[in-house]
């Protein structure tokens, strides 16, 4: 681990030490693995330590492995010039966690996007509704059991049969 990251790792271990928080390191980037319920408290602690920008909020679907979802936060501190990651693992049945909007107001749209794409609910969010898909869309597209929804490519051997099925508007 490079020097600044090692200092940060030490500081984070003593900040969170003993509270079921695991520190992971991959390719020089630090990630804290926290329990879903502890996400808001962890964010508040980190904000007090200078991590004032929520750079990214995303989710990953590990289907069919359990725990199914992981919500990943990336926080940035301007004065230390460092990124730190926060990860919370969720199962299928318990796919909700507290919203970090009170701490970082810009999480508003990011959490809406995660809800839209994965179906993970955020408790305490001011306005949780679909943002990228049409409002009446059913299903959560980025889940692994949601189909890609592609159409078959029309080559010359199957041209006619696809042509019969294909919808054109001629009026």
């Amino acid at each position: 681990m490079i020097e600044p990251a090692k200092n940060l790792a030490n500081e984070l271990t003593e900040l969170f030490g003993g509270t079921q928080v695991e520190l992971q390191e991959f390719r020089g980037q630090l990630t804290l693995l926290v329990q879903p319920e502890a996400v808001l408290a962890a964010c508040q602690k980190l904000q007090q330590r200078g991590f004032d920008l929520l750079a990214a909020l995303t989710a990953v679907d590990y289907w069919p492995k359990q725990p199914r979802f992981a919500v990943d936060y990336r926080l940035y501190s301007l004065e230390r010039n460092q990124f730190v990651g926060l990860k919370a693992l969720l199962t299928d049945e318990q796919a909700d966690l507290p919203s970090v909007e009170p701490v970082y107001p810009n999480a508003n749209w990011h959490e809406r996007e995660v809800f839209d794409m994965f179906g993970i609910r955020f408790r305490g969010h001011s306005d949780l509704r679909r943002i990228l898909m049409p409002y009446e869309w059913e299903g959560h597209p980025l889940r692994k059991d949601y189909p890609l929804g592609y159409e078959e490519v029309q080559f010359s051997f199957n041209f006619d049969e696809i042509e019969r099925r294909k919808k054109y508007v001629k009026d």
């Binding site: 898909m133 049409p134 869309w137 597209p141 949601y146 189909p147 890609l148 929804g149 592609y150 159409e151 490519v153 919808k167 054109y168 508007v169 001629k170 009026d171």
Partner: protein, 161 residues
């Protein structure tokens, strides 16, 4: 134009008048400002100084569909946007033409998934398709000239017997 109902089929007069009508339609076709994605940037570049669209009569892009007669669908059409585009098309008065500019609105393009309508011809009838991702400004001009040729050949005044 209500003149064609009154004239009926008058032989040579109708065909000459038809040619004149078609010619004038091609010379001042006003496009609707409906740039959706990347192809819109190339459409703007075609409108700008280097490849000038105003030499084809398209000096300005009208913002209102009621005042335009050409809908250049430039860019990818998503499922949320498709009803909006159809509404724009319905709001345009006759005669109107549609150019599908780029791969995404001709056939879905690079994207083959849940979110993109594979070809804007599922939503509205298209007159000219232009290939390219995005098509070069010369490609768009070629498409417009193809549309002009198509319009010149239209039977706009002949009454269905």
């Amino acid at each position: 134009m209500g003149i064609e109902q009154k004239l009926g089929n008058l032989g040579a007069v109708t065909t000459t008048l038809e040619k004149a009508v078609n010619w004038s339609r091609t010379r001042a076709m006003w496009p609707l400002l409906s740039g959706l994605a990347c192809c819109a940037i190339e459409m703007m570049a075609t409108q700008a100084a280097d490849y000038d669209l105003s030499r084809f009569g398209m000096e300005l892009m009208r913002a209102s569909p009621r005042q335009s007669d050409l809908l250049i669908v430039a860019g990818r059409v998503s499922r949320k946007m498709a009803p909006v585009l159809r509404r724009l098309y319905d709001q345009m008065p006759e005669p109107k033409w549609v150019i599908a500019m780029g791969d995404c609105c001709s056939c879905g393009g690079v994207f083959n998934n849940y979110a993109i309508v594979p070809g804007v011809d599922e939503v509205m009838p298209v007159d000219v398709y232009i290939a390219g991702c995005p098509p070069r400004p010369e490609g768009l001009i070629h498409g417009i000239l193809t549309l002009h040729n198509k319009v010149m050949g239209e039977k706009s005044l002949r009454v269905e017997a």
